[in-house]
């Protein structure tokens, strides 16, 4: 029988083919029990083979957790990860650039090994879900045959290098960053200096300072194109990140000459690999190293590392032909027909952007939740061949951009898109939301971000033509948990999934995050205004936007409005929505969007009247939330020190409530609270998050020890507020776990 390996013989680059063969061999060794679970897990992650929800072989069916009895028995592909359980394959698409042929192959893989859906991620990757690990080597071979590798798509490595989808055709760029991003990809892929990181490492490029496409400020390493005295170079920033606590990257070099870009990245990598945290996953990103060392010391170490680097010709070889990555149009330039239909014009308003090259446009195909089908993929590759050539780019807003579309072809292109059900207008508007996978497939999802986004899309699409332009211009983004893959921190209106215990049952909620800034490469991050039950979020969006429209000054932007009125105003707006009805009044609040299963796990609280008796601990947690809100108001009012102190007090209040819940006597003195919290909740790991472990507890312990809230500036206050918010979420989760554990003991 012929295999894909034989079928594609001669078409797979030797090194890539060898790597896939090696991985296939490791799969066999794992099946024979000859590779340790942890080692195999990291091995497959570094090949883009990722876990997925329920891959521990357990699933709650709405009435309780049930085993999923896979045929593989005890065979695992990592700790608590069942071999046969479906997983996700993340396929790296460097700077999002795809050829028509690549899109064809991706479409084939989606229908042969997945569920016929291709998903564009916020890092310009393509993800396929529900994939079996034993199919992955053939998938990798088929990808390798068209120049794609999944190597280092996941794991503690350099992830997909992203770049503005308009690079090379943009009107505001300093120059095309594509060849530099490409050189960075090639240079660092598999480089020995990037194999020993404690955590992942994300790199982004932007062609200019002002537009958001590159989003460099929340990356581990970001490069913004600059020209100084006629010479090309980059402003290089380091140590940014979203995640649980967003951090803005700091400037490492105001101007790094182009020939120094790769060695600088290598030096940074070596410092990170050498000094970055390796034991505590929660503090292993480079942002923590930069914080710990301070920027001056970090710069000194990088400079010293750079001095000692052995010369590598690849640092500059790519500069000899910076046009190697240029795209060539397949059609002649032309103007858009003046008699185009109203439907076309409505689409073109937001989905068509003129290029720097006269007569050419970038057409953005707005994808619903970043998804498209295999059949659509093939049809899109046909469109590319006919109209634009190999110039497709996945975007960080989970869309596809087709560059080099002649204006003369724009109407025909749109009509073909429309026939594929891909002619939806409103790219980059409020209806064009991004979302992480959330509880649909992610192991870490708390609430259904895709379910919520799908619901908001559905409702807003109906009324989008009637929306006020100021509202239409807003961006909304949703993350299913605090890890922020949906990039909610930089949205005008962001959502992050949390859960709450109400009347003995769990209710899916979203924290509403307001005031993030998408422009200027995602310049600033929003803050949580409050948690709203998932089912009330559409109403919350309606109230927030109405409040803005009714009270803004003329032409006042949403961000300026928030800065002026403060978040306090919005908390009043949201207050009526924050308490869900009782289960008896409306059980739908106790399920998430698109999922009829009851959100509560197991039998806890079911059939009891616990909901009418509010335990003391709940009052304490509520008080802590109020203190945190007051602290946020203080920051809005410019009182950074008061804000930071208030955030610390909120953490102490929540900790005290939990300690008392354990029947431990504790004084109001913060030192006493923290000491007891450490003994009874931290050291016992009761407060540990299943994923983040002791991360959130450490926020309180460190804050108490280091007292950063004394004389805090705005940046420290902001970070303190973020950490306090996460600590409170963890306190709620801890309380839920304690409740479950007590109920289980009682049931026995």
């Amino acid at each position: 029988m012929i295999s894909w390996k034989e079928q594609l013989s001669g078409r797979i680059p030797e090194q890539l083919g060898g790597e896939v063969d090696l991985f296939e061999g490791q799969i066999e060794l794992k099946k024979q029990g000859k590779i340790d679970d942890k080692i195999f897990a990291e091995t497959r992650l570094r090949r883009g083979v990722y876990g997925q929800r329920y891959d521990n072989g357990l699933r709650d069916d709405g009435t309780g957790q049930r085993p999923l009895t896979f045929p593989c028995g005890d065979l695992t592909k990592g700790p608590d990860t069942v071999w046969d359980a479906p997983g996700m394959m993340r396929i790296k698409i460097p700077f999002g650039k795809l050829t028509a042929e690549q899109l064809d192959v991706l479409s084939e893989l989606a229908e042969e090994y997945s569920d016929s859906i291709l998903h564009v991620t916020t890092r310009q990757d393509i993800q396929l879900h529900f994939v079996h690990i034993e199919d992955s080597p053939d998938m990798m071979r088929r990808l390798a045959a068209v120049g794609i590798t999944t190597r280092e798509a996941c794991g503690n490595s350099v992830r997909n290098v992203t770049a503005c989808e308009y690079a090379g055709v943009c009107n505001t760029q300093s120059f095309d960053v594509t060849p530099y991003a490409n050189a960075m990809v090639q240079f660092l892929l598999g480089h020995p200096d990037v194999q020993d990181f404690g955590r992942k490492f994300k790199i982004a490029f932007s062609g200019c300072e002002d537009n958001p496409c590159g989003l460099v400020t929340f990356h581990d390493l970001g490069a913004v194109a600059r020209v100084r005295d006629g010479k090309r170079g980059f402003r290089v920033v380091v140590g940014g990140g979203l995640g649980a606590v967003p951090v803005e990257a700091k400037v490492l070099a105001e101007f790094c000459p182009e020939e120094e870009l790769l060695p600088l990245a290598q030096a940074v990598s070596r410092v990170f690999a050498r000094l970055g945290e390796k034991q505590s996953r929660a503090r292993a990103r480079i942002k923590f190293l930069v914080q710990k060392l301070g920027m001056d010391e970090f710069k000194r170490l990088v400079a010293a590392e750079r001095e000692g680097l052995r010369y590598d010709e690849r640092w500059t070889a790519f500069l000899e032909d910076l046009h190697a990555t240029d795209e060539r149009p397949v059609r002649k330039a032309g103007g858009i027909p003046s008699d185009a239909s109203a439907r076309f014009r409505a689409w073109a308003k937001h989905n068509l952007k003129p290029q720097a090259q006269d007569g050419y446009y970038v057409a953005v195909v707005k994808l619903p939740l970043g998804d498209f089908t295999s059949a659509q993929g093939r049809a899109l590759s046909d469109l590319a061949r006919e109209y634009t050539g190999d110039s497709i780019r996945c975007t960080v807003e989970q869309n596809l951009a087709f560059r080099w579309l002649s204006g003369a072809d724009a109407v025909a292109f749109y009509e073909r898109l429309d026939a594929l059900n891909l002619g939806e207008p409103g790219a980059g508007t409020i209806t064009d939301m991004t979302s992480c996978p959330g509880t649909d497939t992610c192991k870490l999802g708390i609430s259904s971000s895709r379910g919520l986004t799908g619901e908001l899309r559905k409702r807003l699409s109906v009324i989008q033509e009637d929306l006020d332009p100021a509202v239409k211009a807003l961006r909304m983004k949703a993350s299913g948990c605090f890890n922020s893959c949906g990039q909610h921190h930089v949205a005008d209106i962001g959502f992050t999934g949390v859960s709450r215990q109400v009347g003995g049952r769990k209710v899916p909620h979203f924290n509403i995050v307001l005031g993030g800034q998408w422009t200027e490469n995602a310049k600033s991050y929003g803050l949580v205004v409050g948690a709203v039950p998932s089912k009330n979020v559409p109403k919350a969006v309606e109230l927030i936007t109405k409040h803005y429209l009714a009270n803004r000054n003329e032409d006042e932007s949403f961000q300026a409005f928030i800065a002026r009125v403060g978040k306090k105003d919005f908390r009043k707006v949201l207050a009526p929505l924050q308490k869900p009805p009782s289960y008896e009044q409306d059980p739908s609040f106790y399920s998430d969007w698109g999922d009829p299963r009851e959100y509560t796990i197991g039998d806890i609280g079911v059939g009891e009247c616990a909901g009418e008796i509010v335990p003391f601990v709940e009052f304490g947690l509520q008080e802590a939330e109020q203190q945190l809100h007051d602290a946020q108001d203080a920051l809005d009012a410019g009182q950074a020190t008061a804000a930071a102190a208030g955030a610390f007090n909120a953490m102490v209040t929540a900790a005290k409530a939990l300690v008392r819940h354990l029947d431990v006597q504790v004084k109001d003195d913060p030192s006493d609270v923290v000491a007891h919290f450490k003994t009874h909740l931290h050291d016992t790991e009761l407060f540990h998050d299943p994923f983040a472990k002791g991360k959130f507890a450490s926020y309180l312990l460190q804050m108490h020890g280091e007292k950063p809230y004394e004389n805090a500036d705005r940046e420290i206050a902001h970070r303190t507020l973020d950490e306090a918010q996460l600590f409170l979420e963890a306190a709620h989760a801890c309380y839920q776990r304690l409740t479950q554990s007590r109920a289980a003991v009682a049931a026995e």
Binding site: R59, E111, D371, N421
Partner: protein
């Protein structure tokens, strides 16, 4: 070894379907183990994708789609792995499982579904072993005709679909006016 990744789709007689109504049904199938010889895992909701896979009941051996491709809703059975048998047995089994799923959906009275047996869509998601070319069609034609005749009676006519890049697919016109239960009761 021949391909086993067969897909069989039967179309609903109802023109439009509210896909959201399928989600609780599929969750119940998982909970109640409605397909006892298969491991059912999860439900994937793609209702937001026009003419897409719709709502998918994800299983280990097979997936079951309430698929809305080409704006023609239907139950699409999709085998992913785990079949030992010859080509005819594999096709027969795929037809049977698709029909059983249709029957289960028809039994969900709240849905009000009824499936047509006059037309069956058959596809193989395996370009290596079943490329969309003449030789594949010639190899599959007799087995497909036998299966269609076996389940639906009469003499079916086959129409090959798609081009070289597409997966191998055939539309089978059965001429049947019978119901799903009739088809299942014939064997």
């Amino acid at each position: 070894m021949h391909a086993t990744k067969f897909q069989v789709k039967l179309y609903t007689k109802t023109g439009e379907i509210e896909l959201g109504t399928l989600i609780p049904v599929f969750h119940e199938w998982i909970r109640e183990k409605k397909i006892p010889d298969e491991l059912l895992i999860d439900v994937a909701d793609y209702a937001h994708v026009p003419q897409g896979p719709g709502v998918v009941l994800i299983g280990h051996q097979s997936d079951y789609y309430l698929d809305v491709a080409d704006d023609r809703p239907g139950l699409l059975y999709s085998r992913k792995r785990g079949f030992d048998g010859d080509l005819q047995a594999g096709i027969d089994d795929a037809f049977r499982r698709a029909l059983r799923a249709c029957q289960l959906l028809e039994e969900e009275s709240d849905l009000g579904f009824e499936f047509s047996t006059s037309e069956v869509f058959f596809r193989v998601q395996d370009r290596l072993r079943a490329p969309n070319e003449d030789a594949t069609y010639e190899a599959y034609k007799p087995a497909l005709e036998r299966a269609a005749s076996w389940f639906f009676g009469g003499a079916p006519s086959l129409e090959r679909l798609g081009g070289k890049r597409d997966p191998f697919a055939v539309r089978i016109h059965t001429g049947s006016t019978g119901c799903v239960s009739d088809a299942l009761s014939r064997n």
